[in-house]
Symmetry: C2
């Protein structure tokens, strides 16, 4: 990706100063020349943005992003902040309509680093087809932050007739996963620790709404719930769904796709890929008779080409997730209990 030249002359203020958050001239210049230059016209200079959404249900979601390092194979904090929030909207069955982005900067951050992050967020927003309409900038003293934290909030338009909730899950439902798990967490971890693998591992960060759209269309909206397995990974997401539905999930362990390099890296790092965060995957629970059409729809989209039916919903063991291996052995899947990978998103 070629990056336009940072529009703020680096010889002028090459690093973020406290005054960049003070509300005065320097802040206005940062907003005009850096943020608005990247985000384009819809971003209002005023503190609020007025818009008229289509009639019907909206979704709103917010997430702070504190990933470390700021840049890693496949993505960076700017792209992640956009895709993470767009994906939370998609999990509500909502097309992204508008984003707000609030930045907490650490004094001393290189303006050029900020420019790269902001430009990446702008590119991600364009890729996801959503405008960044308003924002905020604060600066904290050196040692009171960590480069840049971004909080993005999304407003989405819920597809008419779609209502997704764990309470809609029924015995006999199929559990689908859109692709390989663990890539994002391993990519970030490797970048943080300076590890390199012979087969490069990239974050899967991507905007999921187009994949949700084909899934909803293919099933006539018959999806019961969608979740993106981010922090806590696939295992934690499955546990949340079982608990929310008060039903059991029976997972075919061999059906869960894990890329070979990710599996190898996890073994090396002592991680279980089922607990590692993803940023471009979804879990869908839907009536079993819709599963073939749903699977075909997912596989027909580039983001879902490794999709699989990974399990079924059962009245046995309500609230619990049980994984069955190829030999017929079973183990109970527990929610992540401690902290496996801090600051992964």
């Amino acid at each position: 990706m070629s990056l336009p030249t940072c529009p703020i002359p680096l010889g002028d203020y090459p690093r973020v100063l406290l005054a960049h958050g003070g509300g005065g001239r320097l802040m206005h210049r940062l907003i005009d020349e850096l943020f608005l230059a990247a985000f384009g016209a819809p971003a209002t200079r005023h503190d609020g943005h007025v818009f008229t959404p289509p009639a019907g249900a909206l979704a709103v979601t917010t997430d702070s992003f504190v990933v470390r390092p700021l840049f890693f194979p496949g993505a960076d904090i700017g792209a992640l902040a956009v895709y993470g929030t767009v994906n939370d909207l998609a999990m509500c069955g909502a097309a992204p309509h508008a984003l707000a982005a609030a930045f907490v900067l650490e004094e001393g951050l290189a303006i050029e680093t900020l420019w790269r992050v902001v430009h990446s967020a702008a590119a991600a927003a364009r890729a996801a087809g959503v405008p960044i309409v308003t924002g905020d900038t604060k600066v904290v003293e050196r040692g009171k932050g960590d480069g840049v934290f971004i909080t993005t909030t999304g407003v989405g338009v819920v597809r008419p007739g779609v209502e997704l909730a764990p309470a809609h899950i029924r015995p006999g439902d199929a559990v689908l996963l859109s692709g390989e798990v663990g890539n994002h967490g391993v990519a970030v971890m490797a970048a943080r620790e300076g590890l390199t693998f012979t087969a490069p591992i990239e974050s899967d960060a991507a905007p999921l709404w187009p994949l949700v759209e084909v899934l909803l269309t293919a099933t006539g909206g018959a999806v019961h719930v969608l979740r993106d397995p981010t922090r806590g990974g696939l295992a934690t997401t499955l546990c949340e769904l079982a608990a929310g539905a008060e039903l059991g999930l029976e997972i075919d362990a061999a059906a869960v796709p894990v890329a070979a390099p990710v599996g190898a890296a996890c073994e090396l790092l002592g991680l279980d890929p089922w607990y590692v965060a993803n940023e471009g995957k979804l879990v869908a629970v839907l009536p079993g008779d819709h599963a073939p059409a749903a699977l075909a729809a997912l596989r027909g989209h580039p983001l879902g080409r490794d999709a699989a039916v990974i399990g079924t919903v059962t009245e046995a063991h309500p609230g619990r997730v049980v994984a069955r291996n190829a030999l017929g052995g079973t183990r109970v899947i527990e929610m992540l209990s401690g902290e496996q990978l801090p600051r992964i998103c």
Copy 2:
């Protein structure tokens, strides 16, 4: 204000751990027992909230709050995070409809401190009549944050027919201010530096929508623009309005109310109260013939009892703000250029 006992036993995990942001059991417990306990039913445990707003225009606004210290006379970061965002909506002519709150916590923060902040945010949301419907929690390592940062995003319902923008300002308009300036910034500064004054100075943090509502009603919606003079203070807000309208503002310096203790504290601290942040004041620009009704309406509300007409809009000196003193002398008011008070909100 009496505070319920912190529901998470302090002997258990008395301080925030990295695992509280990890997506697993500890995070779920923090959300259920602390955040949801304070914010109540509407806050969804899932990452997104679905709602159906009334038809018409909505406003969206986001702000990160990094104020230091967390607690200061008159308010704290929790109340400020709610009122600040509610007020940005009000400046769009919008009643608050829903809030999202994202927390970035520093490892080691006392759970009881977090509980006080969250409880204060919940109380402020109740006072403003707006539910906190969704949120997020992240944890950064000790020394990579500063206790707690909060990003709140608000969705508001714009009052039908109201369209506020600096471009609507016309020559002959009156400039109104709803009360004394400088209280918030001086209260925070004094708390930070451990200063005490004989006359206690409290932050003016308050939700402004009720005041906006009476103003819009009294003027039949004839208001041209509203702004809350936060970072950069009254002076910077006036400069922004003059620049946005491409018209001049002529301000009667003696008409700008400053509480005597705030004026004295500013003199002591070398601050100009016109540049000090407020969190419960508004500036309204509206047609001169509506000014008497507008002033009466503001003064009839507890948050506007010291309201004043502080100036007029002129075609002379477009883009500039000129203050005239009691002796007829004038000075040009400039936007804040450096950083007067870092981390004031």
